[in-house]
């Protein structure tokens, strides 16, 4: 891993009696793309808000990498928080001033233009998301935090959004940390996957390693009981078992047919496994 740009050091956040983050530690490198997935209430958004400075943890701290100042952290929250009564022009002027941005115009997003006189509250979710992203990109962010906003976009705008984020990664070596649990169209982006449950990081793996370690056995094929089953789904028509951590030597002699699966399905298996464990407790 190259130099860390942002480190979460044993972050604990409590909302009353509920612990949203429970001693979470993670390090993010410059230019790295990380996806954070997990069940609802796992602590993903809280972690992102801590990294973005919107929440101060009860315990632990966020440690910036060398030379990183807060103006170069871009945070697109799932609430798409901006001053709603302002026009786009006013919002841009304010943002530029607060973040010390020298450029005269917002970076354009290909295929996306808006009347600067419109008020933010009149924008659709998609327009608002892309406008927010264009504000953030003007900061030339070293870290881009994106919290589950991709799902609100239509396929065309989603593609624009992702291409723009990837473009920033290439041009600025921006670390992109994205909370997302639908990975069907973003599966190729992350280099690393963090899965959270119960306010903790239960998995932190490089994507290739993770994909090599999780396999599926479909159907009722013979199955050695010693294999570690992460999650199992069974219905009248179908039975799937997800194995983690998988070892290549099990392909020989176990009698089961192990198939490779996509990141989307891997994340689903981990989340499903976490629910099963919760129910068992």
């Amino acid at each position: 891993m190259s130099d860390p740009i942002l480190t979460a050091d044993k972050l604990t956040v409590r909302y009353g009696r509920r612990t949203a983050l429970d001693g979470v530690s993670a390090t993010f490198a410059a230019g790295e793309a990380v996806v954070i997935a997990g069940s609802n209430g796992a602590g993903k958004s809280t972690l992102l808000r801590c990294l973005g400075g919107a929440i101060i943890p009860d315990l632990g701290r966020v440690v910036p990498g060398p030379g990183l100042d807060r103006a170069r952290i871009g945070f697109v929250s799932d609430r798409l928080s901006l001053y709603e009564n302002w026009t786009l022009r006013e919002a841009w002027r304010f943002h530029r001033k607060e973040f010390g941005i020298a450029a005269a115009g917002r970076p354009p997003i290909e295929g996306f233009t808006l009347d600067e006189g419109r008020r933010i509250r009149h924008l659709s979710v998609g327009e608002r998301t892309l406008f927010h992203l264009s504000l953030i990109l003007a900061q030339r962010p070293a870290v881009l935090l994106i919290d589950e906003v991709v799902h609100g976009l239509d396929p065309f705008l989603r593609e624009r959004f992702l291409e723009t984020a990837i473009g920033a990664m290439d041009e600025l070596k921006t670390a992109v940390i994205m909370v997302n649990h639908i990975l069907s169209d973003t599966a190729e982006i992350p280099e690393r996957v963090l899965i959270m449950d119960g306010g903790q990081v239960i998995l932190d793996e490089r994507r290739e390693d993770l994909m090599a370690k999780v396999k599926k056995v479909a159907g009722d094929a013979a199955f050695p009981p010693s294999l570690p089953v992460l999650f199992e789904t069974a219905s009248e028509y179908r039975r799937d078992r997800y194995i983690y951590p998988f070892r290549e030597e099990w392909r020989r002699g176990s009698g089961a047919a192990f198939t490779d699966i996509g990141l989307d399905e891997i994340v689903k298996a981990f989340i499903g496994g976490a629910y099963v464990q919760k129910r068992a407790r």
Binding site: R17, Y83, F94, F99
Partner: protein, 161 residues
């Protein structure tokens, strides 16, 4: 941010003063006023000082909440203390100017003291009411349960940036 907040608070204060200035007219016209315009205005202004102080304190971060911009404001590149100064500073300035002008107006006889209270204690009450809603931002890091005060907990320590 400071200037924008100041402009907003000044605008609100001007609106409030305009309402207080107009209020004696219907009272004089329809109720049979107990005295001249200034005599009707004085108690209204005194009460106004108190209520306006409470409003100014309580509406701290009101624009951010009303426009769903709290998270955006918190992610601006300022420490919590810096943000507090930018947002609460203009309010405190306007509050002090407002109370000072009120005390001067009453003490110099531009407006006569009403029967409610002399201007000095009224200003004191006003300042207390202004500051009473403010402890939430400076609450300790363990005292709160809500996401809202979580955003401010540990404010003096701020973020490391």
């Amino acid at each position: 941010m400071f200037r924008k907040e100041l402009a907003d608070v000044l605008k609100q204060t001007a609106c409030f003063l305009a309402v207080v200035a107009v209020l004696p007219i219907p009272i004089i016209l329809f109720k049979g006023a107990p005295g001249p315009y200034r005599a009707v205005l004085a108690p209204l202004l005194e009460m106004g000082l108190v209520f306006w102080s409470l409003f100014l304190g309580a509406s701290f971060l009101g624009r951010e909440q009303g426009q769903r911009a709290v998270e955006y404001a918190l992610s601006l590149p300022h420490s919590r203390l810096g943000l507090l100064i930018r947002l609460a500073g203009p309010r405190l300035l306007v509050e002090l100017a407002f109370l000072l002008a009120g005390v001067i107006a009453f003490e110099t006889g531009i407006l006569s003291d009403s029967d409610i209270l002399p201007a000095g204690p009224i200003a004191g009450i006003g300042l207390q009411l202004f500051s009473s809603p403010c402890p939430c931002p400076s609450s300790s890091r363990t005292s709160s349960g809500s996401a809202w005060s979580r955003s401010w907990a540990g404010m003096p320590q701020a973020w490391p940036f």
